[in-house]
Amino acid sequence: MSSSDATGQRVRRRRLLGVIQADGDGYNLVQEGDGMSLEPAAASEGGARGESPTASVNEERAAIGPRELLADREGPIGEAPVHGAGVFDFRYGPFAGGFPEAGVFHLSTYGERILSCRIDSSYKHRGIEASMAGCLPDEGLRWAEAVCGNFAFAHSLAYCRAVEGALGIEVTGTDRRLRLIGLEMERIYNHLLVIARLAQAAAQKVLDAHLSALFEEALRLNRLFAGSRLLAGVNRIGGVSPMIAAGGAWAQRGPADGRAADTRPPDGPRALERLAGGVEVLRTRFERLYETSLSNRNYLDRLHLIGVAGAERALATGLTGPSLRAASDPTDLRNAEELLPGFAPITKAEGDSLARMEVRAEEILQSCDIVRSQIASLLEGGSTGSGAGASDRGLPSPAAGAREGRSEVRAKALQAKALRAAEGGSGIGAAESPSGTIAWWVDLSEGRIRRAYASTPSLFGFRAFAEVIASHIFTDFPFALESFGLSFADAAR
């Protein structure tokens, strides 16, 4: 590792995020900096395993990551149980009241102190990757969204990018901006929920109530933007759904939204204006709440020095996202996004729950700013992304009869052409989900999915959590767990 990251240089380690067995060969899914690649297993091993490396492989090429965990993702995650005087296995789960999802935490303890933790996420295993074999890419998109409901947008975005990479489909600048907006909207509501849960665990009921109200407001803004509170069904292969592009989601809000149905005709720019206004209000309210919470020692002391995952441990366990950025590592897939020219990832140094909470809080503010700036760019009618020139001039006007959506028509045409040509190919797509890197590798042949692999951040998060919870007492369990923002559905697929 370039230990000179004290100077603030970006750490360019190669990180192992997946181990794929295909056609009898092993492949590694590796993240290097802000890009992903798939390479044969031999190229990225060597020094890390103690085997004699080939002449062309040196220490720096070895990809760091939890290799044993990735080789067997369905098995238990974490440390082996500890035995000793009075030590027993405290089985927390699968239907424990404290954590909303089904999963078991096997805690080795003699009473108050947790000596080791082993996590069983198999209760949520639905075999999604295996079920995708033989599907059309459009059908696979529904499977990708079904992996984890609160990361539905990030999963569908990574999957679409993988398929678009495999089939060579270009996405217009407008759709790319809309995708960025959706990604940040997902980040906002997930981070709000995580911080609300931390406040609830610390018995800060007033703060929890305010943050929960903001979380519900964020879900309503999602409905305003996409017609779906959890941003499902937004992405398509080649772009976004035409309804969103035309602002139709705004007009289709029904009375179930809690407000009187508006009778004004659908109007694309107006929907985005309202979204920008709503996000601005949310940002102001959250900023005030966050600054107030920082002066509350009762709350901060519960998070301080809990679950410390420093840079070394974060890299060894494959952590990504806010948990990694709280350990001084500025890795963020949005660094390489050309539609976000001034993007600077938010990092903290301590790597504890407090640092992770601070990173998430500041990312909420950053995401609100990104959403508003992207909406402003869309409303100005210019988009600087790559692609065709005149057709990228912002949103289609309602009068142009854009019900079908140019992007949708183009994507369909491209896909039909690709399928007719019985094209194959494989692609990797990645997206920065609220809790880290989601990477999909999709292998297409004759227009159908032959194989799909998803690298999800929660698997590594649970691995890191199982390590850092050792030597903590039971009371600190929720503060460490919730600060990582994990999901069993995401880990078990």
């Binding site: 699968p94 239907f95 909303p100 089904a102 999604i128 519900e216 959890l230 009187a260």
Partner: protein, 210 residues
């Protein structure tokens, strides 16, 4: 006619600026003191989620005033958990209906099963059902996708309803109100509420009075 005109003028008074987000409260002012206005009209009970409530039965007349719910996730994609978390926010304020969430099935009146059971969660689900005190009910919400085939393997006794889809928090509130015993509590006609028609929206109500 009068009501819709009044609401439109109050819209103009507030200056319906599209760039400003809509306020949290309805834009029209009640003609009388708000708590009395609300109690009689039962706005929430009549408004939400009853489009699908026709297929939901009430558990028992015992639960008209209070319902303790134990949610259990047997394999959903976390979307239903998120919507349930959204239901426990101040905007919905479910405590005013006597709806509480418990951490244990032994204190529960309604078991809220979320998702299609995965093979491994069938046995713990059966164990949980054994722990429910009588009378109880089970409400099963499951997502349409991915299609799994484990629905038939688990027998859910006292099933008050199954709902396929990803309902929003407001719709879940409507289901819970239906299982409590109808919209009005003591004002409902009978415990096993006969299916109501879908409630009219505010816009429709305004249109009728025009």
């Amino acid at each position: 006619m009068t009501r819709s005109m009044r609401s439109e003028s109050s819209d103009e008074r507030r200056g319906s600026d599209p760039s400003k987000p809509r306020g949290k409260s309805p834009t029209r002012r009640p003609p009388i003191w708000w708590p009395l206005f609300g109690l009689g009209r039962q706005l929430t009970e009549r408004r939400h989620g009853y489009a699908r409530a026709g297929s939901l039965k009430a558990i028992d007349s015992l639960f008209r005033r209070s319902l303790f719910v134990y949610p259990i996730d047997v394999g959903n994609s976390n979307a239903l958990n998120i919507e349930l978390a959204a239901l426990r926010t101040p905007q919905y304020n479910v405590h005013r209906f006597g709806i509480f969430f418990t951490d244990t099935p032994r204190h529960a009146d309604l078991l809220l099963v979320l998702g299609r059971p995965t093979p491994k969660s069938s046995l713990p689900l059966a164990e949980t059902i054994d722990q429910l005190p009588h009378p109880f009910g089970i409400l099963h919400l499951y997502e349409p996708f991915p299609p799994a085939t484990h629905l038939d393997e688990v027998e859910l006794p006292n099933l008050v309803g199954t709902v396929e889809g990803t309902p929003s928090a407001e719709e879940i509130l409507g289901f819970l109100l239906a299982t409590k015993g109808g919209p009005g509590g003591r004002w409902s006609a009978s415990a096993d509420s006969s299916p109501r028609e879908a409630p009219e929206s505010n816009a429709e109500r305004k249109g009728e009075r025009k």
